[in-house]
C-alpha cells in the first residue's frame, strides 16, 4: 500500500516537474531575442574594438596587420595631426567638472526651494518649465545658443549690461576659454531641469515626520537644511553627480555643432569628437578604436563609482 502511494506521489512530482520545465523553456525563449541583440550590438563590438585597437586598420584598404601597442603609444605620445588625445582628455575633464559641479549645486538649491512652495501646482509649473530645454534636441540647443553668443547677439548685450561695460565683445565662440564656458552654459541650460527632478524625487522620499520632529524641537530652517536634509540626501547627491559626470563624459552634439559653426576645434575637442574625426573623417580605425577603449576604461571607472554610490544609498534608512 505504501508502495502504491509513493508511486502516485512520484507521478505527480514528475508531472509538476515537466510543467516547470516547459515553463522554464518559455522563460528562456522570451529572453533570447534580447540576448541575440546584445551579443551582436554590444558584446561583439566591444571585443571587436579591443582587437582593432591593436591593428593598423584603416577605412580604405582591406589589409591590416597587428601592430601590438603601437596605437596606444601613438595616441598618448604623438600629436595626431594637431589634435592629440591628451588635449581631448583635458577638454573632456574641463567640460565635465565645469558642468557637473555647478549643475549639482544649482539643481540641489532649486529642488529645495521648490519643495518650499506652498502649492504642488506651483512646483509642477516650475518643473515643467525647467525641464523644457531638455526636450529640444542638442543640435537645436546649439543652434539657438550660437546666435545668442554671436558678437552682436543677446549674450553680449546682457553681459555688457551686467558688467556695466558698453560695446565689449566677449568672444563667446572664438576665444579658447570663452568657447569652453559657452559649451558649459549650453549643457547646463539643457539639463538643469532633468537634475532638479532627480533631486525632487530624492527630497520627496524623505518622510515629513522627520521635519515635524525637527520643528517641534525648535530647529531653524537653515539648521534643518544643513543637519537633516543634506545628510539624508547624501546618497542621492552621490548617485546624481556620478550620473551627471557620465553624461558629460559622453558629450558630442554641442561641441560638434559649434565646431561646424566655425569655432576653433582644439579647446572643445572632446574625446568623442576626436574618435569621430580620427575614425570616420580620417579613416584611422585602429587609432580611433584605441581611443574608444580609453574612453571605455574611463567610463568603467565612473560606472564602478556609481555602483558603489548606489550600494551606499541603500544603506540609508529613515
Amino acid at each position: 500500500m505504501s508502495g502504491a502511494l509513493s508511486g502516485k506521489k512520484k507521478v505527480r512530482k514528475n508531472k509538476i516537474y515537466s510543467i516547470e520545465r516547459k515553463q522554464a523553456r518559455w522563460g528562456f525563449a522570451f529572453t533570447v531575442p534580447c540576448l541575440v541583440f546584445f551579443a551582436i550590438f554590444s558584446f561583439y563590438p566591444i571585443i571587436y574594438a579591443f582587437i582593432t585597437s591593436f591593428t593598423n586598420r584603416q577605412a580604405i584598404g582591406r589589409n591590416y596587420e597587428f601592430t601590438g601597442l603601437e596605437n596606444y603609444v601613438y595616441i598618448f605620445t604623438k600629436n595626431n595631426g594637431g589634435f592629440p588625445l591628451s588635449n581631448s582628455i583635458r577638454a573632456t575633464l574641463v567640460f565635465t567638472i565645469g558642468t557637473f559641479v555647478p549643475m549639482i549645486v544649482v539643481s540641489l538649491i532649486l529642488a529645495t526651494f521648490m519643495m518650499q512652495l506652498r502649492r504642488d501646482r506651483y512646483r509642477g509649473f516650475f518643473q515643467l518649465m525647467y525641464y523644457m530645454p531638455a526636450v529640444l534636441s542638442s543640435v537645436v540647443a546649439a543652434a539657438i545658443w550660437m546666435i545668442i553668443f554671436d558678437p552682436r547677439g543677446l549674450m553680449n548685450q546682457v553681459s555688457n549690461f551686467v558688467m556695466h561695460t558698453s560695446g565689449v565683445d566677449y568672444n563667446w565662440l572664438v576665444d579658447p576659454i570663452m568657447i569652453q564656458v559657452s559649451t558649459i552654459i549650453i549643457y547646463f541650460w539643457k539639463y538643469i531641469g532633468y537634475f532638479v527632478i532627480l533631486f525632487i524625487t530624492g527630497l520627496a522620499s524623505i518622510p515629513p515626520t522627520i521635519y515635524e520632529a525637527a520643528t517641534v524641537d525648535g530647529s531653524s530652517r537653515w539648521h534643518t537644511f544643513w543637519r537633516i536634509t543634506l545628510p539624508l540626501l547624501k546618497p542621492t547627491t552621490a548617485m546624481v553627480s556620478i550620473m551627471a559626470m557620465l553624461q558629460c563624459l559622453k558629450t558630442f552634439s554641442t561641441q560638434f555643432m559649434l565646431y561646424q559653426g566655425g569655432s576653433p576645434r582644439a579647446p572643445i575637442d572632446v574625446i568623442t569628437m576626436n574618435i569621430y574625426f580620427t575614425g570616420i573623417r580620417n579613416g584611422r580605425l585602429g587609432r580611433a578604436s584605441a581611443m574608444s577603449i580609453v574612453l571605455f576604461v574611463i567610463m568603467l571607472v565612473f560606472t564602478y563609482l556609481q555602483l558603489v554610490a548606489n550600494r551606499s544609498s541603500e544603506d540609508v534608512e529613515y
Partner: protein, 291 residues
Amino acid sequence: MNKFVGKISFVEILVWIFLILVFFFTITPIAFMAVSSFMDARQILDMPFRWIPSREYFSSADRTFFTNFQKAILGNNENATFFRNMFNSFFVAIVDSITTVLLASLCGYGLAKFRFKGRNFVFMSIMATMMIPFEAIMIPLYMVVSGMKLMNTYRGLIFPFMVSAFGVFQMRQYLLTFPTEYLDAARVDGLSEPRIYSSIVLPNCKPVIATLGILSFRNQWDNLLWPLLVAQREYMKTLPQYITQFSEEKMTDEGAMMACAFLASIPMIILFFSLSKYFLGGAAVYESRKG
C-alpha cells in the same frame, strides 16, 4: 521640509525671486527661437534686441510672415529634403521605441517570472552592457553595419538601438511586483505562454511602457552621432543632421536657421505638453546607455 505657514515671509520672497530668475534663464532661449524664426538676420542681431518685430517689417515686399520657414524647408539646394529627413527621424524613433518596449518587456517578463538555468547569468550579462557606452563601440559598430551592407538604410539606422539594457532592467523591476496568481489563473484556464504575455502582461505595464517608449523616442530623435556615421546620402539623413548642415551653410541667415530649429522642435514640444507626466517620470529614472 517644513512648508511656510501663515504670512508671506522674507525667505519665501527670495525663493520666488530665485525660481523666477531661473525660469527666465531656461525659457528665454526658447522664446528667442520662436520669435526670431519670424525675423530677418538684421533684426535678430539688432542692438538692443526687440522682442516684437515692427509692423512695417512684415509689409515690406520681399518678406512675408513665413519667409524663413519656406527657406528652412527648401534647404540648401532647394530640393526640399526636409520632409523626407523629418520622416526618417520619425520613422527611426518610432520603430526603435516600439521594438524597445516589446523586446524589453518580453525579456523582462522572462527574467522576472520564470525560473530557468542560467537566469542570473543572462540578467547579469544584460546589465553588463549598460557599462558599455555607445560612444566607445561606435567605430566597431560602424564596421559591423557596413560589413552587413546596411549603410544608408533604415535597418542600419534602427538596428543598434532596438532594445536597451536599461529598458530590460526597468521592465524586470516592474514585473517583479506583478502578482503571479494572475498568471497561474490564466495558465489553469489554458492560455498559452505567448498569449499570457500579450493579453495579460503587456496591457498591465502601461505606465512603464509609456515612460520607456518616450525615453527611447526622445533619445533617437536627438541622436546625431550614429546617423552621422551611417546615413551619408541626403535622403537617408535625419533631422539633427539636416539642421547641422543647414546651419553650416546658412550661417549668415539666422532667421532661417531659427525657423529650421523651430520646425524641428515642434513635434517634441507638442509631445512634451501632451504627455508631460511621463516625461517627468522618465526623467527621474536614468538612462545610462543613451544613444
